[in-house]
Symmetry: C2
Subunit: 430 residues, 2 copies
């Protein structure tokens, strides 16, 4: 049974706070192991990576077989299911189109004093994309991470993906090819993250590492941060559905379960002003679960972290939505656009009854790498800007320096930084 | 004596790598102490903050005296040096004008299939700004952190600044007033970071914490990351000056020392194609040091981390610049604009002989919070985007879902996520 809350109950504020405070991430004690692996890769390079790959993935490699060859990728494309491959092409095209609009523009202007100020965006010189092995090896995630990097203009995109016992997901390699990934290595875990960050004889280092992974990968990314950039550390996925009496309970239940099937730690929340819909959705969830292949996972997520919150009216639920700051927000209600406009904190919003979140996972166009665990209060989904950086530019002519210099000198002295003041004064003969 | 390197020497590549690998940060073992402080503030709230403030700052407070009153800020403004206050107004105005251009625009479009996709930027709901006490209490940093947040539209900007033994820097309070900071608290250290992240009875929590601080503050920011957003953890400051024979050695030396006077761990590097300039700058540094108030700090930085690199020509130095990825890059050379255009990695660029970096520290307009320690390879200086986040928006009408649905279903099934596929199929009666 999921949690049932009613915003009109006296105990609601406390119950809602406890919902917000729910810990869904299992913190595994992997830091020491990861520290040793990263150090070993820094010291041992390819040999260390090969050693860990043999131990953890049961795969015996040599330096020249770390990289997946173009021929292997060609062969993988041939093995792909034609329908899935066609869908992947649709997805790639739509993701690219959406993200092209995110390319930022440079700016520069000279003001009345003669000061030219501006900024310039440049692509990162190289990016590493981590792709998990096993069941969490999603070709859609390859596109969602690599396409924005490509749109940004990153000249070198490297992918690492473990292939336990040599098994590769051909669609993952196909996605890499479609997205324009430049190099693919069949390695994973903390050793792959360390190789990307510090480089080996075979693998040149990258400037930033993105992509999802297990606790070891997450710990390794945290550890190499600073040496390279990293993206967010994603937590379990989550959806909040705002629905009114006109919503179809079967559809709402399907969407709650699409989220819940990801992970026993995923979270699906329904917020509604209609008690009858709440009951109907709860019943529909049970019906769907009877035939869902991943029912065990989805049922555990729904039981342990699911919630149904009754509110007097949907407008009054906006502060609750902002406090939860859901990764995915679906609004299946009469005034979906009006409600959406009032939401401050959400990673992504899906409007209306014909926009199930799964469309956004694959082919909508927007990115599916989104802030989890309330971090939509302060961060955004992955995009082109994550693969670029901004350099500010300043240029004074002699007259501009004469005009601005005295203020800089005054502030330098006020801050006790006489050297700052002098570097200006010396040019003005002050 | 700073390091002297010549790019034509056989040993240059190794020497340059070792320059890149130089560790300038002192890693202090403060994590255990910070962990205890954060836990105590979560559990004890105001009382814990007051207790630590008494112990660490020698300041005895009550909950109602945590906040600096408007009257105290008025009084601080009256105590400020008039020239410094006027300069602060100039700085605020110029910083605001520059950052206004960074406000991103929302976007949305409906494509031929009937899919509406777009994104919306919203300001963070609240931001906390840490301002160090003592000698590193810089009013200019208050402006550089608070003005972009204000431009972004953050409705609640909170500042914390320790006041050891009750001493406040009036210009810091004046900067807070000028920048539109909404609340100021006279607390600091890890306890202030914890109060901002988790809230107390007196201090409501914020969504993100920015601003510089000592090792305790940095460790506390790392620890509360996730609960709130944080900005980068800044390392010691650095400048790289590209100069040719026409550069004025006295001016170049002054700029190297303006950087070096920040911190014994700061780094100043000169790259030139002119051996005579290299010698003249080195001599000028010694002359300047004789009269610089912070000569002891600047001399240590120049001795331990300073470097002069001779290159055959400045164009060939661009790969070195990109590898160093300096926080500040000054180009005092004939073709400054042309050289700048070829640089990929730099936090900020200062063009020509009349743009000393100190102008950018105070009144140029661009932000002075910039990526250090080679992180300009993958990150940008502080700006308006750091105080906003993007929500993606997707809306399908029934026809759009019919057009896109089959691709989503194919990919859901290919990834083993039947629940995803069903959430689409159920709407299409598939």
């Amino acid at each position: 049974m999921p949690l049932r809350l009613d915003a009109r109950d006296a105990g609601f504020p406390a119950a809602f706070r406890s919902l917000l405070g729910m810990k869904r991430e299992v913190s595994e004690e992997v830091d020491d192991a990861v520290k040793a692996i990263v150090s070993a890769v820094i010291a041992g390079g390819d040999a260390a990576v090969i050693d860990y790959t043999s131990r953890f993935d049961g795969l015996s490699l040599t330096p020249d077989r770390l990289r997946v060859s173009d021929e292997e990728i060609d062969a993988a494309l041939d093995r792909c299911d034609a329908e899935a491959l066609a869908a992947l092409r649709v997805a790639r095209e739509r993701i690219e189109t959406y993200h092209r609009g995110q390319k930022p523009t440079d700016w520069s202007a000279t003001d009345a004093l003669g000061v030219t100020a501006g900024w310039r965006w440049t692509a990162l010189e190289s990016v590493g994309l981590y792709v998990p092995g096993g069941t969490a090896s999603y070709p859609s995630s390859v596109l969602m991470n690599a396409v924005p990097a490509k749109v940004a203009g990153v000249p070198r995109i490297v992918m690492v993906a473990p292939t336990p016992r040599g098994e590769t997901n051909p669609l993952v390699l196909a996605a890499a090819r479609l997205a324009g990934v430049d190099e693919v290595y069949r390695i994973g875990g903390a050793q792959a993250v360390a190789a990307l960050a510090y480089g080996t004889d075979t693998i040149a280092p990258v400037a930033k590492i993105v992509g999802p992974g297990n606790a070891y990968v997450a710990a390794a990314k945290r550890r190499v941060f600073g040496q390279v950039g990293i993206d967010m550390i994603a937590g379990p996925s989550e959806v909040l559905i705002l629905a009114d009496r006109d919503a179809n309970p079967d559809w709402v239940a399907a969407d709650l379960l699409a989220q819940a099937e990801h992970d026993t730690a995923a979270q699906s929340i329904l917020v509604t002003d209609d008690p009858a819909l709440a009951d109907a959705v709860e019943a529909a969830v049970e019906r769907h679960l009877a035939t869902l292949p991943r029912a065990e996972i989805a049922a555990a997520s729904w039981r342990d972290f699911g919630a149904i919150i009754l509110v007097p009216d949907l407008a009054s639920s906006i502060p609750l939505v902002d406090a939860i700051a859901p990764e995915h927000l679906e609004i299946e209600a009469a005034d979906a656009d009006g409600l959406a406009a009032r939401v401050r904190n959400a990673g992504s919003i899906f409007l209306g009854s014909h926009t199930p979140e799964a469309i956004g996972d694959y082919v909508g166009g927007p990115n599916h790498v989104l802030p989890t665990a309330r971090s939509a209060r302060f961060s955004s989904g992955l995009g082109v800007l994550d693969f670029m950086k901004r350099t500010s530019i300043l240029k004074c002519d002699p007259a501009a320096l004469r005009a601005l210099g005295p203020s800089a000198i005054a502030l330098g002295r006020a801050e006790g930084l006489e050297g700052h003041a002098r570097s200006v004064a010396i040019r003005l003969n002050l």
